[in-house]
Symmetry: C2
Subunit: 245 residues, 2 copies
């Protein structure tokens, strides 16, 4: 069997997230598996680096699948982009070692969160940014973010319905940049709990908007109580930026 790795870009606006979901056609995984099954005449299952939630986007999601198909990777790429809807793009198709596993082999992941801080929403970015009105103190956010760096128990910063036992993760880096009316937050870590990035962003925004002090971010971390953190930031501003192996 050949092992094929895909790098995938998608506008998640229309979708119920990455993960196959019963009979729903509206997940990214299902859309890609359907085209791959047609292409190979096999029942293809793809393994993603991880899920992305409903409405979340990806600049470079990674997945792999096994196949007996003999097409060249170039032919596969042409085929996929021809039959996939235009909000899903296959940026790369590479044949990899049989042991490569898109989920198990992840070393770290980088997420990007985009905020539009203009007085008026930007009609062109409206589906790919969260519009936050009001003066945002970027330096307070940067300071608050330092408390989240390192290995911590992020129980306060994950969805209350989360099922995984351990909520210990490591965040390597949080970068916050402002350019005119746009604010971009980059977060790199060894793994993320359900809704963790969006709850972190929602909490940092509380700090930026002056509703919470920077130091509270550390206090919340210690309390291991989701109720203390800020609101979950909107899905539409979140992008899976890259997956490192």
């Amino acid at each position: 069997m050949r092992n094929i790795k895909l790098v995938i870009q998608y506008d998640g606006s229309r979708y119920k997230g990455w993960q196959r979901l019963g009979k729903s056609e509206m997940t990214i995984q299902t859309k890609i598996e359907n085209v791959l099954s047609k292409m190979t005449d096999e029942k293809v299952e793809i393994i993603g680096s991880g899920r992305t939630d409903s409405g979340v986007h990806a600049l470079a999601q990674v997945a792999n699948f096994k196949t007996k198909d003999e097409k060249s990777v170039d032919e596969m790429m042409e085929y996929l982009n021809k039959y996939l809807p235009d909000d899903i793009a296959i940026k790369q198709v590479v044949e990899v070692h049989e042991r490569f596993h898109a989920r198990y082999n992840v070393v770290s992941k980088t997420y990007m969160y985009r905020i539009w801080n203009g007085r008026v929403q930007n009609p062109f970015l409206r589906k790919h940014v969260s519009h936050v009105i009001g003066k945002i103190d970027i330096n307070a956010m940067k300071h608050a973010a330092t408390y989240l760096i390192g290995e911590h128990d992020y129980a306060s910063y994950r969805d209350v319905k989360a099922k995984k036992k351990s909520s210990i993760r490591t965040i390597y880096e949080i970068e916050i940049a402002q350019e005119e009316e746009g604010i971009t937050i980059m977060i790199r870590g060894n793994g993320f709990l359900h809704k963790m990035v969006r709850i972190i962003v929602g909490t940092l925004l509380e700090v930026g908007l002056g509703r919470m002090k920077s130091e509270e971010v550390e206090h919340i971390l210690q309390q291991k109580d989701r109720a203390l953190a800020g609101p979950t930031a909107q899905a539409k501003g979140l992008f899976l930026y890259s997956v490192e192996y």
Copy 2:
């Protein structure tokens, strides 16, 4: 009567263009006039700097209207952005001299055309760029563009169904820039004929793709025959960038 000037940004994807069109609700002008009429309790008509076609966008369309309404310009801006759909944004509301006329007073207009030249379409820009595959020779396009600068009869570069008598216009500047997979063409002139920017772009692309020589652009200009020019580039890549008064 007060004379109010609006600066308007819109994603034209869903609309049949700027201009009011019988009873259709799906023009930008109609959407704005409806909200203004509700706001002022008057029958408001707005004057745009000019039309934009179906599917064409604007970063800074300009319009003006007369009203007896006494709201502050700030209140008007809040009201408009609250009730307009999120693909139309009012960026500025200013009270101007009674003689200001958004169409008659135009000195020049700048259009931007965006091309995505990647092998694969960009899912996030797909509604705001024209996807052109193949190697594009930017220098050939730049050379071709020089023939179009100045005062000319652009009869070859306008829609065959155009009705205006004179097809003489002046183009002051054409700038073509390439950044990674994106190509941006900026065109500034004292006025543009129907579909003129898109036919110019379509023709420059023929040159860029090696299907036409740079010099033909001048020959086509001299022949005053629309059939000789290149195809009309897609509406979705075109933006009214600014209007100069």
